[in-house]
Symmetry: none
């Protein structure tokens, strides 16, 4: 994400992160309004509303149309749509910094898994997470696994199944309660 994109996104959040401006956006999304109408509806003075509208116009969130001595403000849906699409998309946010995670994960897995067995349990956090993610994928969602079964499954990959099991829980790939384990969607990180 470029500096420009960052600034644009920040400006957008700043503008919308104000109660009255968000209300104005709502009112304008419904239908166009003049400054004094908005002032009435929001119980604010005209200059205040005018100021808010100027900020919203700055980022192209609203449009103005003069009508005699009034100014009719309308919501620029396109702007919101573009923002939504371009800046808030999964890709953009992810691309923020991610550098081909799949490739790197593949490389790590190839390094540590030979003939279906873990050659060693990596120490580096990133490597460990990749391995744990792979192991967690051996489990299905919505299935309850007794500890014994978990151990058996993990022993396939490494003698020290207890460490693997503990790490899987510690890093929230598995949840545990009363000796029963189940897979959960690990959030954040190298998902």
């Amino acid at each position: 994400m470029s500096q420009e994109d960052f600034d644009k996104l920040l400006a957008f959040f700043k503008v919308m992160g104000n109660e009255n401006r968000l209300k104005i956006a709502g009112l304008l999304a419904e239908r166009e309004h003049t400054v004094s109408e908005l002032a009435d509806l929001l119980d604010l003075r005209e200059p205040t509303v005018s100021e808010h509208l100027a900020m919203m116009k700055e980022i192209d969130l609203v449009r103005v149309r003069p009508e005699g001595t009034r100014r009719v403000y309308s919501f620029n849906a396109k702007s919101l749509y573009a923002m939504n699409k371009d800046l808030l998309s999964r890709d953009k946010l992810a691309a923020l910094v991610r550098s081909k995670p799949e490739d790197e994960e593949q490389r790590i897995l190839q390094t540590y898994i030979r003939e279906g067995r873990l050659t060693q349990i990596p120490v580096g956090r990133k490597k460990l997470l990749t391995i744990l993610k792979f192991l967690s994928e051996q489990f299905e969602f919505d299935v309850r696994y007794p500890e014994k079964r978990v151990n058996e499954m993990l022993k396939q990959f490494h003698e020290d199944y207890a460490t693997l099991r503990r790490e899987l829980v510690d890093f929230h790939y598995l949840e545990r309660e009363k000796g029963i384990y189940w897979r959960v969607e690990r959030e954040g990180g190298l998902e």
Copy 2:
């Protein structure tokens, strides 16, 4: 959109509308970090970062995992996507304040139209727009009406057809050129 949704959206914008918090979001989207790492990267003190993270946690934008004496923060992508999907659409924003507009329009029409005639031409903008919308619906799209015909049609509703005609044009329910009128889709307003 409920008050709850409004508050949620507002809180989200408020949190993301700060330069350092937005940077933190970017850094955490890349990979998880501890408080002091972030403080280093952003050139801020730990308490400041801690405070920012607390705000982000409040709206479930980040997750924490204790690791010894550190706390490892990670980005909760799900939260962002949910926000993006559920709350940022135009419909949602519009619904922000809409209180059954159809009902209200019906109420206004019933107030001002008796036995097929306008009892008076309302002054309030909202009421006026509702009446004008109703009147505009007497005209068909893609039909060219000479002024004389427009006057006749409007006279059915009120003696002061000239005012109605002018308002219909002023508020862009009708377009006029060289004495010929035609109905257009009014944009923005009470469509």
